[in-house]
């Protein structure tokens, strides 16, 4: 069944007493050219004007199947604006599946290590994980890469295989999240990172020991889960991602003076710390589905560019915060002596900034001075431009994927593109 059919049913269900006549009503709502027979086949996009009521909050049950996108959530405005302009929240597309994953992870930790349960809660609960970015992208990527399946095999062997694949791809999302959280925990060792995504750093609350151990626990579970997938290429990719995370963090804590001023060094470190995990897991998702190297590389490229774009905007926001002006951000990077893209660009325009950077930022006067230069320079703008460039590369990667006329696939690809936009335009 196509998602449009399901949507039409929902719309109808809202306007009729529960459970009665929904189907018939839905039929009337759909364009007449698509009669009952066409309901079983592929549909063209109905005009949004035909569906005029506001549909709110149709959260379907979460279920793992190749057709999970049926119960997607929609917001359709009453003024009947064309569908093409509608921003579907890409996070909502996978929200239910994500809840499933989050619960699985939470349960695993709670059962195996009750003492760590409250620790894990911090990172897997809603609101504390910065929108669960990575798993969202991965699940969307999984759908975006779906091989076409003919309707007649619904419920047959291929359907079962598709379910199995979906579960394995979900496992990648879980493994990725475990690795990510573990790296945060280990990064926090002896860092004075006070807050992490608005939630108090676990380290502060539970101490170094538990951070190390909790991180070790997550990493070891990731190892077990990876082993269970039984795919050597995938394990290699994820192991590489972990190595990169460690390498990136080491680069950060052991930067020499020259390296601190180098854009190349910074971008390499950024790739390791932020983009490698998501890019390698995207590739892993593609490989599990049995795609060619070309397609797998496209998935990789999407992840890599998205990750880089994300970090660059993060760097900007650290200076600007939710306002457009400088200095309203938390400035935590500069206060930790971490020199990011905006400053690096500013140094290119104002070489005298070298000195200030070399001296370090323990002295608040230096922070002020650096902000001054930054203001005068095009550092912020150029960083945004670079982020936009990467976002565009990400979009191109999606557009280069093999054609498909499966609605689910198209919706997910659109969502992945939307995410790049969200990443670039976000204000926090």
């Amino acid at each position: 069944m196509s998602w449009r059919w399901a949507l039409a049913r929902r719309v109808a269900a809202l306007t009729t007493p529960r459970g009665t006549g929904g189907v018939a009503q839905a039929q009337r709502l759909l364009p007449s050219s698509s009669g009952a027979g066409a309901l079983l086949g592929r549909q063209h996009l109905p005009h949004a004007s035909q569906i005029r009521s506001k549909v709110v909050g149709c959260r379907g049950a979460a279920f793992v199947s190749s057709r999970w996108l049926h119960d997607a959530q929609y917001h359709i405005h009453q003024d009947g604006a064309s569908r093409a302009e509608e921003q579907q929240d890409p996070f909502e597309l996978v929200a239910d599946e994500l809840s499933l994953l989050a619960n699985r992870l939470r349960t695993m930790v709670a059962i195996e290590v009750p003492k760590l349960a409250s620790a894990a809660e911090y990172f897997f609960k809603v609101g504390a994980e910065g929108k669960r970015f990575r798993p969202t992208v991965l699940l969307l990527m999984a759908t975006a890469l779906k091989f076409p399946m003919s309707e007649s095999t619904e419920g047959g062997v291929l359907s079962i295989l598709a379910n199995k694949l979906r579960t394995r791809q979900q496992n990648i999302a879980e493994i990725t999240e475990m690795i990510h959280v573990a790296s945060l925990l280990h990064d926090d060792v002896l860092d004075d990172a006070d807050t992490r995504r608005g939630v108090s750093s676990l380290n502060l609350i539970m101490g170094n020991k538990l951070s190390v151990l909790a991180g070790d626990f997550l990493l070891s579970r990731a190892c077990v889960a990876l082993a269970a997938l039984g795919n050597t290429e995938v394990v290699s990719l994820m192991a590489t991602a972990v190595e990169h995370l460690v390498t990136g963090e080491t680069m950060q804590i052991s930067t020499s003076r020259e390296q601190r001023r180098s854009m190349e060094y910074y971008l390499q470190k950024t790739y390791y710390k932020t983009a490698s995990l998501i890019s390698n897991s995207c590739e892993a998702v593609a490989i599990l589905a049995g795609h060619t190297t070309e397609v797998s590389m496209l998935a990789y490229e999407y992840g890599r560019n998205l990750g880089l774009a994300f970090q660059l905007i993060d760097d900007v926001l650290d200076f600007t915060g939710t306002s457009a002006s400088l200095g309203k951000g938390s400035l935590s990077d500069i206060r930790h002596g971490i020199v990011t893209a905006p400053l690096l660009y500013a140094i290119e325009e104002f070489p005298q900034l070298h000195e200030v950077v070399d001296q370090g930022f323990d002295n608040p006067a230096n922070v002020e001075l650096a902000l001054d230069y930054l203001q005068k320079s095009r550092g912020i703008e150029r960083t945004k431009e670079l982020a936009r460039e990467h976002a565009n590369h990400a979009i191109k990667a999606i557009e280069a994927l093999p054609d498909s006329d499966d609605e689910d696939v198209l919706t997910s690809r659109r969502a992945l593109i939307d995410i790049t936009e969200i990443v670039i335009t976000r204000t926090k």
Binding site: K115, L190, V235, I253
Partner: protein, 368 residues
């Protein structure tokens, strides 16, 4: 905490070859087929490879990861030794050995040894961070030398390098065994960390924790060797049993030594376990004899007078002796596992098996 390092400093280990004057073979066989001599070369090869396997993109990381593989810091390398001996002990009798195939297999066994050593070192490094240890193997601990953060990162790096290497063996079961071992190491540490007063007094809890922390790695790796050798499930299980009982025996003797040290009398040893609040087998046995000790143990050892109390009771109890008996039991079980291996007429195989059995006795006779 894996006390391989204490064992490693023991002088008795490498005097073991003497026992091969045994029973079945003539003296000529000894020189030609001395498994330990051959193993020695392979073990050196393993160490050399390890140094190159931990090269990272960032020099600081390479240095940290390779810290315990430097010349002089690598300890007596018990893990690789046991594994390579096991490999020889269970190799199938080949009437017409294809040399190339043999070498290939041998290389894979060495890979397992390398992987196991990396996992082992990774866990040592993290243990030292968790325990705030200053020294390890007679030198500065890694966290003391480079700080906790880099030590933690180096441990992670080693772990996943090991994992990558495991994957390259292209055997899903082996990867699974090693992943299980890694998981067990962490579980053991967690059990230690989250122990309740009641659990502190439980022998079952203690033995389970000991298995996870000390025996799981070597037992799973032994089994991995058997899997790679294409052996039957029975032989795989025997290899596993050997590793498991060897590891537990080792730890039990370690527990005793923490109280007795180099002298037979109590109090002349490091007593580091009890000072860290870790309750080991001798005390657990003593509790069975002296009920009043239980309450003290449940209270924990923040109060130094509790330490004194326990040390008073211990010599009055059979704690040390019973621990030694338990260790001997496990040592025997390990030796039995070797004896249960399928018959072989290959002298090399038989000598390797004997060497493995001798190891169990060596462990029992340790004095430091």
């Amino acid at each position: 905490m894996c006390h391989w390092d204490k064992f490693i400093r023991s002088s008795c280990y490498f005097h073991s070859t003497s026992d091969q004057t045994s029973r079945e073979e003539g003296s000529t066989a000894k020189e030609v087929l001395d498994p330990l001599a051959l193993i020695k070369d392979e073990v050196s090869e393993v160490t050399d490879r390890l140094r190159s396997m931990v090269v990272a993109e960032v020099p600081e990381l390479t240095a940290a990861a390779g810290y315990f593989f430097r010349a002089g810091a690598e300890g007596k390398r018990t893990c690789p030794t046991v594994l390579l001996l096991m490999a020889s002990a269970i190799s199938m009798d080949m009437t017409d050995p294809i040399v190339g195939l043999e070498n290939k297999l041998r290389a894979r066994y060495m890979r397992v040894a390398e992987i196991t050593e990396m996992i082992h070192i990774s866990s040592l490094i993290h243990d030292d961070v968790l325990d705030n240890a200053d020294t390890r193997r007679g030198i500065d601990s890694l966290n003391f030398a480079t700080g906790k953060k880099l030590a933690v990162l180096a441990g992670d790096f080693l772990l996943f390098r090991a994992f990558s290497a495991a994957v390259s063996l292209d055997n899903a079961e082996v990867v699974s065994l090693l992943a299980t071992a890694v998981n067990n190491l962490v579980t053991g540490e967690l059990m230690q960390m989250s122990i309740t007063p009641a659990q502190r007094c439980s022998m079952d809890y203690y033995l389970q924790k000991t298995y996870f922390k000390t025996a799981a790695l070597i037992s799973n790796s032994c089994k991995a060797i058997a899997v790679l050798a294409g052996q039957t499930t029975e032989v795989q299980a025997l290899a596993y049993q050997y590793g498991k009982h060897l590891g537990i025996a080792y730890q039990l003797i370690d527990d005793i030594l923490d109280f007795t040290g180099t002298s037979a009398s109590l109090g002349k040893a490091s007593l580091s376990d009890i000072h860290q609040g870790i309750v080991t087998a001798p005390i657990l046995f003593a509790i069975e004899e002296f009920r009043q000790l239980r309450e003290i143990v449940e209270q924990g050892f923040d109060d130094p007078s509790n330490v004194d109390t326990v040390l008073e009771y211990l010599p009055r109890s059979q704690g040390i002796e019973r621990t030694r008996l338990l260790a001997a039991e496990h040592a025997k079980l390990a030796a039995d596992a070797i004896d249960s291996l399928p018959e072989s007429v290959d002298r090399f195989v038989l000598n390797s098996r004997q060497a493995l059995k001798d190891l169990t006795e060596k462990f029992m006779r340790r004095t430091q």
